[in-house]
């Protein structure tokens, strides 16, 4: 039940006095309440659970992870090329 997925905020609007957003999940668009992530901007990714954004995805932290992986993939490539030799 704690399933939450990242989606891109494509529009921010007001509904019954609540900050809401249209969220794009790779082509499927649904609305989510942004009251708990008031800092969310159009173009940013939010983690959404049961119609509520519970965090704005920290792209800097995700970037650090990807950098670490690039380093790991380089290691793999080096291992493969040294095995080939």
């Amino acid at each position: 039940m704690c399933l939450a997925i990242p989606g891109k905020v494509i529009e921010i609007y007001d509904e019954n006095g609540l900050k809401m957003g249209k969220i794009d999940y790779a082509g499927t668009i649904n609305k989510a309440c942004l009251e708990y992530t008031p800092e969310a901007q159009v173009g940013e990714y939010c983690i959404v659970h049961a119609g509520f954004a519970i965090s704005v995805l920290n792209e800097e932290e995700a970037g650090k992870t990807f950098q670490e992986w690039d380093r790991m993939l380089e290691e793999i490539n080096k291992e493969i090329s040294s095995e080939e030799k």
Partner: protein, 364 residues
């Protein structure tokens, strides 16, 4: 999908798995707390790719599974009333109560509706002023902010025909019950990433220190889980017991303050009974005095319901990581997703259901 597909890269997964194989020298039991993580572990065959010495045990983090029988009986009783529109997340509809489930109530003519967001239930209340709208507020800390917002909004909009049947549970008290049990075998935890997105992870620091166990705040994609296991095994091998955040793209140490503020306004902690485990002090939420008018239990007079769980079901031991689902004599025989004995076989996040669904998956 961006920020999902990257975390399913088999090359990276293999690299982390190699690292786990390289550092593992002793036998370790690691519990993933959340049912969503259990589901990923079974779906991607993660246990089979780990060293034999690393054993994953499955935790109680499936709110559908731990909702006690009497809460379901209360829901079924309220939903059967002709003046009620009963709203719920879809997961709860097939969970058996003592005699039937909510889906049967719907089949018998009850107005039972599935909502995607708790705010959907508030909307139904606004559109149906001559009906009583009840929302089944089930969940862990992840779901509490949304459910709290629904009650907060109902009060703000002056809706007298809206109430909630609260069955909220909290992770840290359950973790302490597991760790203090004489039959405990868990040595390290993957903490639930979305619970920590809301609550942060500072609550786990004193628990890690007291019981000398590491906690890795972990996400839900296969690489998240494999990296979480790597960090946990690394700490166990080094004799450390720290709280580490693997899921930093979503989780901060303090969590989401905006969400916590509304949760604290609407809910306060109270003892809760967990299906298969029993009552745990301070392990759940109830409505605060300020919001007590929205309590469906008092509104419909169902507070005193009691129910006994079927003796054949060992879900309580599965939820505490003592037994694996396929060690139950009823598993796949008298207990299947079509004819479940316990909620762990009903919910898609339940450990028994995950074992049953992915029982034929073999990983090469």
């Amino acid at each position: 999908m961006k920020y999902l597909n990257e975390f399913r890269n088999p090359e990276i997964a293999k690299k982390y798995l190699d690292k786990i194989h390289k550092i593992t020298t002793k036998e370790w039991n690691i519990m993933e707390i959340c049912g969503g993580q259990t589901h990923s572990i079974m779906k991607y065959g993660i246990q089979e790719m780990l060293p034999k010495k690393v054993n994953l045990v499955h935790g109680p983090g499936c709110p559908v599974c731990v909702t006690p029988l009497e809460q379901l009986d209360k829901a079924i009783s309220i939903a059967s009333r002709s003046d009620v529109i009963f709203t719920s997340f879809g997961d709860m509809l097939r969970v058996p109560g003592s005699e039937k489930d909510l889906l049967s109530v719907k089949a018998e003519g009850g107005d039972v509706r599935v909502v995607y967001s708790p705010l959907g239930a508030v909307q139904i209340a606004q559109e149906n002023p001559d009906k009583e709208i009840v929302f089944f507020a089930v969940g862990f800390e992840t779901t509490a902010p949304g459910n709290a917002m629904a009650v907060h909004q109902a009060k703000k909009r002056g809706l007298k025909n809206f109430s909630v049947l609260v069955s909220h549970v909290l992770v840290p008290p359950a973790v302490e019950v597991i760790l203090s049990s004489p039959i405990n075998k868990v040595q390290g935890f993957l903490a639930a990433g979305h619970v920590c997105t809301v609550m942060g992870y500072q609550e786990y620091i004193p628990i890690a220190e007291k019981y000398k166990v590491p906690f890795i705040v972990t996400g839900f994609e296969p690489i998240d889980i494999i990296e979480g296991i790597y960090q946990c095994v690394k700490q166990l091998e080094e004799g450390k017991s720290e709280v580490v955040n693997q899921y930093s793209r979503s989780v901060s140490a303090k969590g989401n303050n905006n969400a916590q503020n509304i949760v604290t306004e609407v809910f306060d902690t109270k003892p809760r009974k967990w299906r298969g485990i029993g009552e745990i002090p301070g392990s759940g939420f109830g409505l605060t005095k300020q919001y007590s008018d929205f309590d469906a239990e008092t509104k419909f007079g169902v507070e005193e319901y009691k129910a006994e769980e079927p003796a054949e079901c060992i879900a309580g031991l599965v939820l505490q990581g003592v037994n694996k689902p396929n060690e139950c004599p009823a598993f796949g025989k008298s207990c299947t997703p079509e004819h479940p004995l316990g909620a762990t076989m009903v919910s898609t996040e339940g450990a028994c259901s995950a074992y049953y669904r992915y029982r034929n998956i073999k990983t090469s």
